[in-house]
Amino acid sequence: MKEIVVISGKGGTGKTSLTATYSFLGGKDVVTADCDVDASDMHLLLQPDFGNPQDYYSGFVAEIDKDACIACGKCIDVCRFNAISSDYEVSPINCEGCGYCQHVCPAKAINLEEQNIGDLYVSNTKLNSKLIHAALGVGADNSGKLVTKVKNEARDVANRLGIETLIVDGSPGIGCPVIASLSGASYVVLVTEPSVSGFHDLKRVYQLVKDFELDAGCIINKYDLNLEITAQIEDFLSEENITHIASFPYDERFSKAMTQGKTIVEYDKWDLNELVKQSWNKIQELI
């Protein structure tokens, strides 16, 4: 199976709009995983049925039984996260669920409650293709683990259906959710924009891709906003042997398509449609 992972370093470069479009173009020949679980937006364009919801549990929060508590203060002393107040209330926001307090409590007054951190869906999209996506619970941590769960589920679905291509929408940044979405990738598509910050973030996230020894291609979105930085990005791509897949202009049709809940190829039948289709064909050749 080929896994195409789309990431950007910086947010707002058009990553999700493009990934949803590639998923649309791939149709039933691809399975899609929305691994940007913090800001999962693919469903707004692919209109899935939110099928087979599963609760996803990960991590713990401490609970103190006030009746059993003897107020000895040991839990407060050992907690490195300032999660227990002087009147023995646990802050679920601060609690990391390490359970150190539970081990030192002489009155056995502390329980660890498993946290429901989100829901996971194996959905059918408006094309009747499969989208695996999640809604991260409010204030939840462990998004890296949920990313892994979404990806594994997507691989299982693809295997079951005999589908050879998995498209993954990754999250911004370089930390645990991104690392989780890169693991097992066969090809990385970097979506960037020609701004000082877009280029800066591209270089950082590419360093990560390089450390994983993955092949990558790059799409320069909104290339005409700053032709000077576009040229610098192109130089960077050739120095690093990153395939320059395509450049797209700054065009509000992308936002307009999104506002109507459409991918760009559904909204636009002209030049953008053609450009984006060409880029998808090129990605398929590259993998």
């Binding site: 370093g9 910086k10 947010g11 707002g12 999700t16 679980v37 913090d38 800001a39 937006d41 707004l44 991590g59 713990f60 050992v78 490195r80 926001i93 601060n94 990391e96 669920g97 390490c98 359970g99 150190y100 081990h103 030192v104 660890l112 991260l136 409010v138 204030g139 939840a140 941590d141 462990n142 998004s143 890296g144 911004p172 940044g173 370089i174 930390g175 645990c176 959710p177 991104v178 690392i179 020609p194 701004s195 000082v196 910050s197 877009g198 800066h200 973030d201 950082r204 996230v205 990560l208 450390d211 909104k222 906003l225 700053n226 700054y250 509000e252 936002s255 307009k256 999104m258 506002t259």
Partner: protein
């Protein structure tokens, strides 16, 4: 006063707003801008100053001392993150899974897992006139942003007095790094754009802020694209719309060059004035 600039979706203009607001407020008072988007820090591309201090940042992780270890297995038993594994006659520490709760280290009966520092990134403090800037930058390959964010806030608390306005440029998303960056703030400014993606991610950010019991308001960026869904939502939920920044290609171009906007675009400056007035009301309430 601490103000965090956050958003659910990436690329909605957090850094644009933070850097411009910081420079604008610093015309009249002491301000420190703190870049807590440690995975992809960009604020320093827009706000330059003279270096005051630079330091390496470390987190503590347990290190196995094979001579002291009696292989009792207590460490593996108490670790809720599967970060300490006893494999045969060895103990292995998986640093990236460790949350530095100290449980294994302090509960080890033979003190065989002392906590030792490992580098996770670096901090830079620079200053020009009234405007100080503190940036932390996670090393590539490090997965956890939270310890670096937390230590950066501690650093800022130790260096700046209560009267200095502290602006936290937060990471995107709604999970652990965002919670860490916003939990100490007196007020949160949520920046979003009036598109379905922007609205969807904002609703999750709003739920998170409400769960944390935070005061917050919304700044609409790229006002004019998309639809009225965002404004309708804010009205229905009784959320303050603090300012509305117009959609303008000139803004995107200036941003791409790393320029501040308000010196060039009067409508932008007007919106900053509106925002600054609202924030000074918040400051009175906080005091």
């Amino acid at each position: 006063m601490k103000i965090a600039i956050a958003s659910g979706k990436g690329g909605t203009g957090k850094t644009t707003l933070s850097t411009n607001l910081a420079s604008f407020l610093a015309e009249k008072q002491d301000v420190v801008l703190v870049d807590l988007d440690v995975e992809e820090p960009n604020a320093a591309l827009f706000v330059k100053g003279d270096e005051v201090e630079q330091k390496e940042m470390f987190k503590k992780v347990p290190k196995w001392d094979s001579d002291a270890c009696t292989l009792c297995g207590k460490c593996q038993e108490v670790c809720n993150f599967n970060a300490v594994l006893k494999l045969g006659d060895e103990v292995m520490v998986l640093q990236e899974l460790c949350h530095a709760c100290y449980a294994c280290s302090e509960l080890c009966p033979s003190s065989a897992l002392p906590m030792v520092p490992v580098r996770m990134g670096k901090l830079q403090y620079s200053k020009k006139d009234n405007l100080s800037m503190v940036e932390s930058r996670l090393d590539i390959g490090q997965e956890q942003a939270v310890p670096l964010i937390s230590q950066t806030i501690d650093y800022v608390d130790s260096k700046f007095d209560k009267d200095t306005i502290k602006l936290f440029d937060s990471p995107p998303g709604t999970s652990c790094p965002v919670i860490e960056a916003t939990k100490d703030a007196d007020y949160i400014v949520l920046v979003t754009e009036p598109t379905p993606f922007g609205l969807h991610d904002l609703t999750i950010a709003v739920k998170t802020m409400r769960l944390m019991g935070k005061r917050f308001g919304v700044v609409v960026n790229r006002d004019g694209i998309g639809n009225s869904g965002l404004i309708d939502y804010c009205e229905k939920e009784g959320i303050d719309v603090l300012a509305r920044i117009p959609n303008d290609r000139r803004i995107a171009e200036l941003y791409s060059h790393g320029e501040l906007l308000y010196p060039h675009i009067s409508e932008f400056r007007e919106q900053l004035e509106v925002l600054a007035t609202k924030l000074s009301e918040v400051k009175k309430d906080v005091q």
